[in-house]
Symmetry: C2
């Protein structure tokens, strides 16, 4: 029945009585790694206990995956049988970790002896046992410790009980016995767990999404990558550090879509960048209208000079003109008549797109080709990828692809456009995606926003999913932006940039572009189907506001963290009050947002000044970071008014007022 | 780095894209079984999904542990990618279960065809694919199904598309294709999980705890097991069905304790029953003063005649006079001078008790002897054991012992006296104890009681821990009983018997015995150290009340369930309002308790009549089960007064008022 008990009886030694339970953090019992960023610490905790009163010791062991040497970090008792230890994470890599616990023989003995000694009991029997423990410890001692143990044994075996007890309790003795301690009856947590350490940009980034062909100034003509270079100062000035392009590859002509998603393109229509592949090449090529690889290299370099990196779009599908369609029809779904199946969502048909069959008989060649494509762009300087519709491809494929790419390129970031059901979205994050699009795009009201953010930043998913907050995308113009106009653009931007540490906008946002296809959450005259020329300085633009918020993010480390969000009570249902703090309260930022873009609201709100490390009865300093105003406030309860046409949002920095009394006696 | 991906590439077939996550119920990722009782159903649920829109199918497979044949139960989609299936649990045994999921090829195809057909699309290509799916299904068909599939293939390959589509959607076709369906690309949940099915007594029982030597009528002399037989009608009349004895084994004389735990016994002092073992024998013997094995057999039989079973105490420790101390000193802790160590909790010493060393070098012989002891009593008719201080012995020992005993005797119940830290208590329950003592004994106030019960009955521990509620034990006379007197005895009894489905009292409770050792939660003149003669009918006794409550438990199946507890809002902080319902609302019991034993309280309370399946505006019937009063109530809000000296508690049975309108036309 319980087979391991039969096995157990073949062992000479009895099983250890130490138990390790509920090791955290852990995702799906170790099936997937947790995620952190370089420079972080990983606090590993577990319930550790055994029967009776004997003392225990425990360590967290960790090593870089694939290397042999474990490093031990001592765990300490926290409370209620919970222990914790901290692993430093100083490399982009995957670390393995596990917990080990074992009886602390020497300290159990010392504890008993001290209590009996304090009670005045005779200890000769206990001291003999102590000497036995020390002799056993000596078998592990090296160098000077051997002599130190001999001295200690002599003291314990001497005639002076007081001296013997004292000798066993000195800091030097404790350190000595720690070095030589026994790990007999050790128990290891199962399975070995993993933490994937990404660069900080995985957690703290501002994405700017654009169609490179719309970066120019000539109507009806493709802009080039060199036109994009000309845009870099503007985008940099706004404070973005990841510049993401919709696909830059050659676009098919067969069944090409026309303007506003019409079924047939007119001459001169450039087609949808997601209809990838033509006689000019496939996923590893650049659409000739955009330029050459030389142009691309210059763009990557110029972006780097502006502190930005380029993110490409990974849309694994093909136009009927893609080289794969000719060379590898077996990678697609084949109809009984031998032709390749186009994309369908019955009864809808998408004749310009061939989906890939990830589980075809030649799947290994296909998967390797897809890996080659990613590595090809990595070699050309791309370090971030936004993946289109990953939820229509097998999760196991992404798990494989991302692991393969990050093995040699741990710096590469994958953003999952997983606008899909919650569990599918989470499974992609578990499988390896560095970041994920989220439902933020559609969360408009106070309660739903609060609930969602508490899930994201305090629920189990905080260990593996970083939600990248986009208030708009080239596919989605949400109703709140259509209806709410400029105040909504300001408040939604502020929430994206301060609720999450990683966020992005799709270009046009800075001009409050919000003309929809009627009754749809889509842009009218979308760039998806056309070239476009923008007036970046058009009236009503919020570029300066964006720039200011990004500067605030840069100067306030609290806003660069993901899971330090906390909400505060506010008396009005349209006023969202929240904040972020650094762990030492050295940086405290509080944000109020009027979620109603139409009318002014005012609210009484509560600041947890005690958690801020402030006194409830001593004034603290409040700097409003958007206007530059400064206030002195006292206590928990405050009041603020937010007018969508004046101040849809407010951002406070809170600092203690430093008292300087006479610290020295004054003569 | 990710080794299984290397392996993956050696396979010809691509990995399945189906994912199974979060299988429930599950304890510590399957390290321990969940617990249920015979006659229950086990609802197994999991998140099951894959990329894209194709349909899936899933089953729960189960089998009796150690047998080879799996039975499949179909899972159905619930919501949000969650699926569930139900396993019937009709034997006392351990079942294994796991989830299997796989693409539903035929229904995915049918869904596509139906949508396209409704849209008026031409389907010849799809029908060729359909015929291919049917031919593949035929490889699994047997009997008449082969011909049925041929007929269906002919219809699909015929000229009439309408007829072809119709033929694929009939109930007969769906059933046929279900029988022949493909499980290609199947995924299995890991690991295989277990459910331990106990008898109903594991969940629904009333324990009566006593010292058999105090069942008599002669002062200063041990009562016998035959005296206990004489008590059975009285105990049965009160409604108890498990009769638990403190240890009945011979008691040591060396360092025997005297009355009221004095250090030295006087002549005639019987000693503590936990000082087990003398020249008369050890754990497998009966203290001669109590009688013989013949007496014991008669007692077991008489108890059975009264619908009761006998539970013995398992206290694994020895008096210095125990045969083990002579024959197996190696099973104990040995001092440097060769003597056996007595029990200590430094600086306290317990010279009358030798603790066992479970991890001595001869541990296997020891463990086997302990197993023999349990099986010895099982052979003598004992089916329940109360285990003393299990938390001072290795959890792994209990896991082994209980599994070994229950392998051949699945009916045996182990109650853990784990009055220890919460995680240790839970680990013993996980390791196999059928029931556990709990902190109920010390939970006196409304909020702490509510919080604790919500944890027990709605938290993860409900899957493996059944808390047996004792308002007192022979070791514990809680302050609330000392101070609160008879009203407290009534309210605490009612809570024990209705908050949990399994509870017990220590004898004397029915007489409201509450004289403490001053400033301690212990009984003065405790039976632990003496013989005692009781006046069972003494004034103020609550035997009739106990009897009545146990009858209510017997006639109300809702009170026989453990995890169906729900709390209701009540306006007074001393009034606890709660209830239990059968799943079909066929039995609804509502209880109000005044937790203040000193003063009357009245409260407005809210009944969730909609969840009760009642209308808010039609009266329902309320029977007060202690007084026999009946009321007609309407709506959610009601009011009640509880006077500790009149009605410290109230128990309502709620039933709908059955309307009988004319159902037939009346001529």
């Amino acid at each position: 029945m319980t087979d391991h008990f039969t096995d157990l009886f073949f062992h000479e030694h009895p099983p250890s009585s130490v138990l390790i339970e509920d090791v955290q953090p852990m995702v799906d019992n170790g099936r997937y790694p947790v995620k952190r960023e370089v420079g972080d610490s990983l606090i590993v905790s577990a319930d550790i206990f055994r029967d009776g009163h004997d003392k225990l010791a425990a360590v967290v062991r960790y090593r870089e995956r694939g290397t042999g040497v474990w490093t031990d970090v001592e765990m300490t008792f926290v409370d209620n049988d919970r222990w914790a230890g901290t692993i430093p994470l100083d490399r982009y890599t995957t670390y393995e970790y596990r917990v080990e616990a074992f009886p602390d023989v020497f300290n159990s003995w010392r504890d008993e002896v001290e209590k009996k000694h304090a009670d005045g009991q005779e200890l000769s029997s206990e001291l003999i046992e102590g000497a036995r423990i020390l002799r056993e410890a000596k078998t592990r001692a090296v160098g000077d410790d051997i002599a130190s143990l001999d001295t200690l044994i002599a003291q314990i075996e001497g005639d002076d009980q007081q001296r013997a007890v004292d000798a066993t309790g000195t800091p030097e003795t404790l350190a000595l016995l720690y070095r030589c301690r026994s790990k007999a009856d050790l128990v290891q947590s199962e399975p070995v767990l993993r933490v994937k350490v990404d660069r900080v940009r995985a957690r703290y980034a501002a994405w700017y999404s654009m169609f490179p062909r719309s970066a120019g100034t000539v109507e009806g003509k493709s802009a080039t990558l060199r036109d994009v270079i000309a845009q870099l100062p503007r985008i940099h000035e706004m404070g973005f550090n990841v510049l993401y392009f919709t696909p830059i590859h050659p676009i098919g002509t067969t069944n090409r879509k026309g303007k506003n998603n019409t079924l047939h393109a007119l001459p001169g229509d450039p087609g949808v960048p997601y209809g990838i592949g033509s006689t000019d090449g496939g996923h590893d090529a650049i659409e000739p209208g955009l330029g050459t690889f030389d142009d691309f290299h210059d763009l990557v370099a110029a972006a780097k000079d502006h502190g930005m990196e380029i993110a490409l779009d990974v849309a694994i599908q093909a136009s009927p003109d893609h080289p794969w369609a000719l060379d590898h029809p077996e990678w697609f779904h084949i109809r009984p008549d031998g032709t390749i199946k186009y994309a369908e969502n019955p009864p809808k048909k998408y004749q310009d797109i061939y989906p890939i069959n990830f589980q075809n008989t030649e799947w290994q060649a296909l998967w390797k080709e897809l890996k080659r494509i990613i590595l090809h762009w990595v070699e050309h300087g791309v370090t971030s990828f936004r993946v289109d519709n990953p939820h229509t491809k097998p999760t196991i494929f992404w798990e494989w692809l991302i692991a393969e790419v990050q093995r040699d390129h741990p710096e590469v970031i994958f953003l999952s456009e997983a606008f899909t059901r919650p569990k599918v979205m989470k499974s992609l994050a578990k499988a390896g995606f560095t970041q994920s699009y989220s439902y933020f795009t559609w969360r408009n009201f106070k309660q739903e926003m609060t609930d969602y953010l508490i899930d994201l930043t305090q629920g189990p998913e905080k260990e593996y999913m970083r939600a990248n907050f986009f208030p708009n995308t080239h596919d989605i113009l949400p109703v709140i932006l259509q209806e709410g106009g400029r105040p909504a653009f300001i408040s939604r931007f502020t929430m994206a940039a301060t609720l999450s540490s990683v966020y992005g906008i799709y270009s046009g946002y800075e001009m409050c572009e919000n003309t929809p296809v009627p009754d749809r959450e889509e842009y009218l005259n979308s760039e998806k189907y056309d070239y476009k020329v923008w007036d970046w300085d058009r009236e009503g633009n919020i570029s300066d506001f964006i720039s200011r918020v990004n500067r605030i993010r840069e100067t306030h480390p609290a806003l660069q963290e993901y899971d330090n969000l906390e909400f505060y009570q506010a008396s009005d249902d349209n006023v969202l009050a929240y904040g972020k703090r650094s762990a030492d309260n050295g940086d405290i930022v509080v944000i109020l947002v009027n979620m109603d873009p139409f009318s002014a609201h005012e609210a009484q709100f509560e600041l947890p000044v005690d958690r801020f490390g402030l006194s409830v009865d001593i004034p603290f300093r409040v700097d409003e970071l958007l206007t530059g105003e400064t206030f002195m406030w006292t206590g928990r309860t405050h009041h603020w008014r937010l007018d969508p046409h004046v101040n849809p949002v407010t951002i406070f920095s809170i600092t203690p007022w430093l008292h300087q009394d006479y610290a020295e006696p004054c003569y």
